[in-house]
């Protein structure tokens, strides 16, 4: 609870007078204020800068240095003030926290210096206000990464630890070739063989001179068939051995087999084995030829050797939606123009535009401004529309490309920030909830303490009383809640106890018989209790669903806006796909976890885990 409202507690307690006439049971006794609040000024001298505040302001937070008796260690007798040898600029913020209840993080301060001051004054950073919390977390994470990088560099320069198993050693050698010379040698050998294999694939199609008794030129592959076959076999051997070794060394074989690199490896070597298995049958030779095409995928094995390729691949993957949109709009334009050209050229004789799909080729070639000239319109209408086609092609192709390029970086950073925000939102909600629960738990403890103290009083007299170190504000607040309990003849309990009670009662009523007191309520205790519970939970179901829906929508909205702006430029008739159809599949699966557990955290985690799917599939 914000300490600012601590000053309003007297009002809240006074307002409780409204419950007194309707209460049917006597009220608990209020806590005694042992000492009347002497509200004096305290002088805090922080390295020469003097701050002054009321004593009660500081005592709002009794579990910090300034609010507890710990500050007495810093009391300076000669000048009758509290002296701290710390940074006055940061202290200003800390003192403001006592005054307003909100802790702010100044952006110009160094994160580690700030953290040190907070730790010194006993303030946990989690209570930083929402306005500054994200900034604080960002800086903290950067700092932690920097420290971690330093550590990692140190670690890499270390001698390899001796007690790795052979499997772990092998995996480490594969993933990080610089660890040992053997790994490095293997790395270069595989790279060399990839290059050899790719070059062989290329060279074997080059025409290589004619045979003495044939007039037709044959390719090198057919002429030196045996040599190429041996080369191919050697390469495939190396690749197979490498793949098997990786498979053995992988810590999680299933995960390794699902990874992109392993799929590429498999695709690279499979054609050879399939070719071995298949006989030289005419029916399957066509398929066999197709398979040889897949050998070109060996070139992708280079991505293990080149970080740049990996980054490019990742960028393409993350901008797949943008590219997909470009493709989609291109397709629409192509279809439109192809149709128009077909009908325009239908009349002319010997027209190459035999069908709409045949006109696709013309449209694509014109829109990308290639203009091969193998298909040209002959009618005037056709030429008019052909020129419109090429002009719009310039617009369609040339304009989005820089936008896409800038979208790459923008969307990448935006998704990073959105994920950060989402993670923080989850934590923020959890923090709020934790604070609430802490409040109710404190109250439970207060009640237990109260009962304990009562029983102790009966036994041992007054000597033991007065040990409870709850601050006056807390005890008054708890007394207020206790009065409310007495007024309504119900007690506050926490969630788990409530669920347990309800379960007990429903079980009890199923087996037992109704008593006369229950006959007054029409539906009986069990159904009432569960009805109210179910009613409340059925209310919470759509609300949490809405919350999840809104979080997903909110996250999608900035991305959708960028695309709608793209849309508006291109073509007014292009309908942007709504987010809803893509959200419903995830919502259907979300509803299941929400019904079973009323725990807000679990539903938000499912949303979080589903969110990646939603993000990619939305357009």
């Amino acid at each position: 609870m914000a300490a600012g409202v601590a000053a309003w507690l007297p009002f809240a307690r006074a307002a409780a007078i409204g419950w007194m006439p309707v209460a049917s049971t006597p009220m608990p006794t209020p806590p005694q204020d042992k000492r009347k609040a002497q509200d004096g000024l305290i002088i805090l001298n922080v390295s020469g800068t003097k701050f002054q505040t009321w004593r009660t302001t500081l005592e709002r937070y009794p579990d910090t240095l300034l609010g507890s008796t710990e500050r007495d260690f810093f009391f300076h007798e000669e000048t009758n003030e509290y002296f701290f040898d710390r940074d006055p600029d940061i202290f200003r913020h800390i003192l403001n926290f006592y005054r307003t209840g909100k802790l702010h993080y100044p952006r110009q301060e160094c994160i580690s210096a700030y953290d040190e001051e907070l730790a010194f004054f006993g303030i946990i950073p989690e209570i930083i206000g929402d306005c500054c919390y994200e900034e604080y977390k960002d800086r903290r994470r950067e700092n932690a990464e920097r420290l971690q990088d330093d550590e990692e560099m140190d670690m890499n320069n270390d001698v390899t630890p001796v007690n790795l198993t052979f499997r772990e050693y092998l995996w480490r050698a594969f993933e990080n070739p610089h660890t040992s010379t053997l790994a490095l040698v293997f790395y270069y050998v595989t790279g060399f063989f990839i290059a050899i294999s790719v070059m062989a694939n290329v060279v074997e199609t080059v025409p290589c001179g004619t045979l003495p008794n044939r007039s037709k030129e044959i390719s090198c592959g057919d002429r030196y068939a045996l040599a190429f076959f041996c080369l191919d076999t050697a390469c495939v051997m190396i690749f197979t051995v490498e793949y098997l070794l990786r498979l053995i060394a992988a810590p999680s074989r299933y995960k390794f087999m699902k990874s992109v690199m392993s799929v590429i490896d498999v695709v690279a070597i499979m054609p050879y084995y399939i070719g071995l298995v298949m006989t030289d049958n005419d029916q399957v030779s066509g398929a066999f030829v197709t398979l040889r095409v897949f050998r070109v995928f060996r070139i992708f094995k280079f991505s293990r050797h080149s970080a740049g390729l990996r980054i490019l691949g990742y960028t393409l993957k993350s901008c797949a939606s943008e590219l997909g949109f470009l493709l989609f709009s291109l397709t629409m334009a192509i279809i439109i123009f192809a149709t128009v050209m077909f009908y325009a050229e239908k009349g002319s004789s010997a027209s190459k535009f035999t069908s709409i799909p045949a006109a696709f080729w013309y449209t694509i070639v014109t829109m990308t401004t290639l203009g091969y000239g193998d298909m040209v319109p002959k009618t005037i209408v056709g030429k008019v529309f052909g020129s419109i086609c090429s002009l719009s092609g310039v617009l369609v192709i040339a304009l989005p490309v820089p936008v896409i390029v800038s979208n790459f970086s923008r969307i990448y950073h935006q998704s990073q920030r959105a994920e950060k925000r989402r993670a923080q939102r989850k934590t923020r909600l959890a923090r709020i909830r934790a604070a609430k629960i802490r409040g109710t738990n404190a109250y439970m403890r207060y009640k237990q303490n109260g009962l304990l103290i009562d029983s102790l009083e009966e036994e041992a007299g007054q000597a033991l009383v007065g040990k409870a170190a709850t601050p006056p504000f807390e005890s008054q607040h708890h007394h207020l809640l206790h009065c409310l309990e007495k007024t309504t003849n119900h007690e506050f309990v926490d969630e788990q106890t409530f669920q347990a009670n309800c379960m007990e009662i429903s079980v009890m009523n199923k087996s037992g018989s109704r008593t006369s007191s229950l006959s007054s309520s029409p539906h009986g205790l069990s159904s009432c209790c569960s009805r109210r519970h179910r009613k409340k939970s059925s209310f919470s179901l759509p609300s949490t669903n809405n919350q999840e829906l809104s979080t997903i929508q909110i996250r999608e909205r900035p991305v959708a806006n960028s695309r709608s702006s793209l849309n508006a430029k291109l073509d007014e008739t292009v309908p942007l796909k709504c987010d809803e159809p893509y959200i419903t599949p995830s919502m259907v699966s979300l509803s299941a976890p929400v019904v079973t557990s009323s725990d807000g955290d679990s539903s938000t985690t499912t949303a979080y885990s589903q969110s990646n799917i939603v993000r990619v599939s939305a357009l």
């Binding site: 000053a7 409204g18 007194m20 409310l484 309504t488 119900h490 009432c528």
Partner: protein, 222 residues
Amino acid sequence: VNNGGEKCIDPLQRAAILQIDLHNQSHPEVEDGELATVCYRPEGLDSLVQKTSFSKKELQVLYRGFKNECPSGIVNEETFKSIYSQFFPQGDSSMYAHFLFEAFDTHNNGSVSFEDFVISLSIILRGSITDKLNWAFNLYDLNKDGCITREEMTDIMNSIYDMMGKYTYPCMRDSAPKEHVDNFFQKMDRNNDGVVTIDEFLETCQKDENIMQSMHMFDNVI
């Protein structure tokens, strides 16, 4: 410059408020943030000491707390509800806060100034037992017609029970507030005419030991 306890806004401020009002009439979508810049200052400390039974020091403490939460000098219902709800995190205290606000807002102008606040508190905490009971009756009597009907009491009771929230022991039945209202009327309504008048209320409360004792419980709050 104040005379005879009138709530006097100084002429400059009145002009400012009028300006804002005119502005509001022409642009009804002006937000509350515009009004917040108008600062309402209470009367002098001495006149408040005379009007209430608080000492100077107590008024100072009260005002500091008041001004902290409401820098503009007046509380509107939203702020009132949000402050009150911080003390009852488990339940929904908005309805009871609304009734409280109605009781504190003696001039019925939708806002509670520091004077209203302090005068009401003075009655509750330092008034005679009859004054306190009158104030409580005023709180329950929603339409201020001098008698509490069953509907009014039901509303009040529902609002109090709402503050408990969902997680209670024993489970909160829907009929619990109604039963409580029935008990209340059984106890208070002497002539069984379906309403509780101020006299019946005072008479019954003064006879009840528990109520008398609990009325004095919060006397030392400040």
